[in-house]
């Protein structure tokens, strides 16, 4: 039985904040396949392209036939706990601070035996379901969960180390005026976030959903304009030390590419919000979040960017907007590297056309705010790095992986790449 967590006590400002430490991040290049799969929450192993033998640990040649063709494939996560131990003494500081720590040997139904972290509700010798999660060093690791759901299982202290669950955490949503602000705030409120700060630019200008937003439990609307460095710094000074999850939903979007626009005015606005806005937020909030990556049960845990999937491949009908998102995507990789020492996850949520005024003439499917919000909460609970929301985004990333150049050509077909 997992003991449900309770809201953390008020922090004692006299006490030193625990400095983030990390499990070992050393891996062979082959083993990085685990991290790539865990970034999307997939349980994958290498499967020999010639003889079909499933491999583990990750290797460079098949242990059954010596083929070097070893692609990663989704495999059954079912297995049985063959042996277990509780580590009470560790040479690694991260685990030393968190002992006792339960690990085990699981025989997978798919074949190999693995070593893995073990959830407290797994019974001795019991059947398990393996998930592949990113640990605090950003590496993929296996975690054995009970094969059936158990009450409050997400509160298992070892599992919580590998998720970014909003429960009893404080969230900042950066743009109250966005059409998705209400859905996002509602979803975090439902997920038991303790406070939901929502940033509001130009508060003198009315917008239709303000009352609905303010009515959501635990929502607190504060002034924030991501295009204004002083505004960002002021808010960071006020709540930067208690922001556990930051969701950057601010964006500026207008149709048009290069020649159908007469100037660079909109392009400048797109970069100002979508790229420089992210950078300002990261400069103001990033250091404090990174420093609080191990600050107890409700530590700083995740930074969420909502990006257009056209960051991967330009959609000419929204060509300049796509370009600003490509810039933001690249910057997010830099942010991920800089956040990693603190164990703070950077999760990018990619979406195709959204259900809003600027995408009004586009045909469905379009991503509704509630669907976006659901995907963000689910992604945080699974500790993901990359989430593709909706059919358009999922389709695009699959095509991009199959061949980026072919996709580029497809995107410029008549219709401007309404994939």
């Amino acid at each position: 039985m997992t003991t449900p967590i309770v809201p953390p006590p008020k922090k004692d400002p006299q006490k030193r904040t625990r400095v983030p430490t990390r499990p070992s991040e050393l891996r062979s290049r082959a083993a990085l396949g685990l991290a790539a799969a865990a970034a999307e929450g997939r349980f994958m192993l290498q499967v020999c392209g010639e003889c079909g033998a499933i491999q583990y640990p990750p290797r460079d040649a098949c242990a059954a036939c010596l083929s070097v063709d070893l692609p990663w494939k989704d495999v059954s996560p079912a297995g049985r706990l063959m042996a277990e131990t509780t580590v009470r003494t560790s040479t690694n500081v991260y685990f030393r601070e968190r002992t006792p720590w339960r690990i085990g040997t699981v025989k997978l139904d798919a074949g190999p035996s693995i070593m893995c972290h073990v959830h407290g509700d797994v019974e001795r010798g019991g059947t398990v379901r393996i998930v592949n999660r990113l640990d605090k060093s950003g590496q993929g690791v296996f975690f054995a969960l009970p094969s059936e759901e158990t009450p409050a299982m997400e509160d298992d202290p070892q599992l919580r180390e590998m998720s970014c669950d909003p429960k009893y955490r404080r969230v900042l949503i950066t743009d109250a005026r966005s059409e998705n602000a209400v859905a996002l705030a509602k979803a975090f409120s439902d997920a038991q976030a303790s406070i939901i700060f929502v940033g509001e630019a130009e508060s003198w200008r009315a917008y239709p959903h303000r009352a609905a937003l303010a009515a959501i439990p635990n929502v607190e609307i504060l002034p924030l304009d991501v295009t204004d460095t002083q505004s960002v710094n002021e808010l960071a000074g006020e709540i930067g030390g208690k922001t556990d999850i930051l969701v950057n939903n601010a964006r500026f979007v207008r149709p048009g590419g290069i020649m159908d626009r007469g100037d660079t005015v909109f392009a400048r606005d797109e970069m100002e919000v979508n790229f420089l806005g992210l950078m300002r937020l990261a400069q103001a909030f990033g250091p404090a979040m990174r420093g609080r990556g191990a600050d107890g049960q409700s530590s700083a845990t995740a930074w969420v960017n909502i990006l257009s999937v056209y960051a991967y491949s330009n959609m000419p009908a929204f060509g300049a907007f796509s370009a600003s998102n490509a810039a933001a995507y690249s910057l997010s990789q830099c942010l991920r590297a800089e956040m990693r020492p603190g164990g703070v996850r950077v999760m990018n949520v990619y979406t195709g056309p959204t259900e809003d005024a600027w995408h009004q003439p586009l045909p469905p499917p379009k991503v509704a705010p509630a669907a976006l919000a659901r995907a963000i909460i689910a992604g945080l609970k699974d500790g993901l790095e990359d989430v593709f929301v909706g059919d358009v985004a999922k389709d695009l990333i699959e095509k991009w992986r199959a061949g980026a150049k072919i996709l580029e050509r497809e995107m410029t077909e008549a219709g401007g790449g309404e994939t």
């Binding site: 499990p23 070992s24 050393l26 891996r27 062979s28 082959a30 083993a31 583990y56 640990p57 990750p58 242990a63 063959m82 042996a83 277990e84 131990t85 509780t86 580590v87 009470r88 003494t89 560790s90 040479t91 690694n92 991260y94 685990f95 002992t99 720590w101 690990i103 085990g104 040997t105 025989k107 035996s113 693995i114 070593m115 893995c116 972290h117 010798g125 640990d135 060093s137 590496q139 690791v141």
Partner: protein, 395 residues
């Protein structure tokens, strides 16, 4: 391709082991592996009256020589061998060194091979070694709690206990008997008696592994010579004959968790080549980094059936004066684990035993010993295994 059925293996007639040396262990040392190996080499060569310059064969096992290997040691120690070996098999390195060196001497590629193992133990060296022990350990075991070998063997022990009904007391008997033996060994790191109650009451390290199931990492070195019998006689030094050997790596890869080592594949050959049976063995030196693995060796080396290890240790006295002398110098559990020298400790003591030169730890009338090696938890199990039967000149 079909292979011709293996013809009878050539014996080791006329090839002997001599000049066993143990450089007394220390818990921590400021010195290097080079320093420890040099001391062991000097002592073993001195015993046989061989000048370092005249040594023509050299075999080294060590974890802490980096960035050097046996190659660097030749220049460092002023050796000019025509046969050189570096054995990375940890706990199986002693038996492997015998096998390779004996064939080299037998074939005339070398006249005398000095087999040396040694490691230093700095305050932080154990932690450093664990995180980069092997690629599979780095990728697939160290990220899970970083419990090192304690955690890996805890899993094997947990499984063994469930499968065969072994109790912690059974492992305790092995540890307590070895401590008793160690008290007679002036060089053992552990110098105070251990009772079964103390064993049972010790703090857990990685359940069900508790404090006295774990070896103490130390600095130390061990060495011996492989040479022709005629040369040993000419030098006037006692020697032991090699009656049989086996070696196996990555045995039973399809076992979901380790319940047996490579010995189980080759044990019949070990006895047949020596023309011996389990009753002929006067003392057994198993590789004892954790008691569960010694118990598996009792089974896999033919002293009892699989799963009967717990009953075997309940029914036998494993001390020097007992009916089944086992790890008579105290083994690694009580004498200390000096890195790769842990793969030599049982063998070097066995050479002393069968040549009647063991002094305070001497088993009465011991003429034949079995020594087994086990090494390298590459991921979830020990990969290397080996064993040898040796006998004194009188045999």
């Amino acid at each position: 391709m079909a292979r011709s059925s293996s013809s009878r293996r050539l014996g080791y007639d006329g090839i002997v082991l001599a000049a066993p040396v143990t450089v007394p262990y220390q818990r921590f040392s400021k010195e290097t592996a080079h320093w420890w190996i040099a001391r062991a080499l000097r002592q073993t060569l001195k015993a046989a009256g061989v000048a370092p310059r005249d040594l023509d064969g050299f075999s080294v096992s060590s974890f802490t020589l980096f960035p050097d290997t046996a190659v660097g040691l030749t220049q460092h120690l002023g050796l000019t061998p025509r046969w050189l070996d570096h054995i990375p098999m940890g706990g199986a390195s002693g038996v492997a060194a015998v096998r390779r060196a004996a064939r080299a001497v037998q074939a005339g590629d070398a006249d005398i091979v000095a087999c040396v193992s040694g490691d230093t133990n700095h305050v932080d060296s154990f932690r450093r070694m664990l995180s980069s022990f092997s690629r599979f350990a780095q990728d697939a075991s160290y990220p899970y709690g970083a419990g090192g070998p304690n955690a890996c063997f805890a899993l094997l022990t947990d499984h063994y206990m469930n499968a065969y009904g072994a109790r912690r007391e059974d492992f305790g008997r092995i540890c307590v008997a070895q401590r008793d033996n160690a008290l007679k060994n002036p060089h053992a790191i552990m110098k105070t008696p251990l009772t079964l109650d103390q064993y049972m009451g010790a703090r857990m390290i990685s359940d069900p592994i508790a404090l006295f199931d774990c070896v103490m990492p130390v600095s130390g070195a061990e060495a011996f010579l492989v040479m022709r019998e005629v040369d040993a006689r000419a030098a006037g030094i006692p020697f032991a004959r090699i009656r049989s050997t086996i070696e196996r790596h990555n045995a039973f890869p399809d076992d979901p968790i380790q319940m047996r080592g490579g010995w189980a594949m080759d044990i019949d050959e070990l006895y047949a080549m020596a023309d011996a049976k389990p009753d002929d063995i006067d003392l057994l030196q198993t590789y004892d980094d954790y008691p569960v693995i010694s118990m598996m060796q009792l089974e896999d080396l033919g002293f009892c059936k699989k799963g009967e290890g717990p009953e075997f240790v309940r029914a036998h006295d494993l001390t020097i004066a007992g009916d089944f002398p086992h790890n008579v110098s105290g083994g690694q559990l009580s004498a200390g684990q000096a890195g790769a020298a842990g793969g030599f400790i049982g063998l070097v003591e066995a050479i002393r035993q069968v040549t009647g030169t063991a002094g305070p730890t001497q088993v009465k009338d011991a003429t034949t010993a079995m020594v087994s090696g086990f090494g390298m938890i590459n991921f979830d199990r020990g990969v290397c295994s080996g064993a040898t039967i040796i006998s004194g000149d009188a045999q």
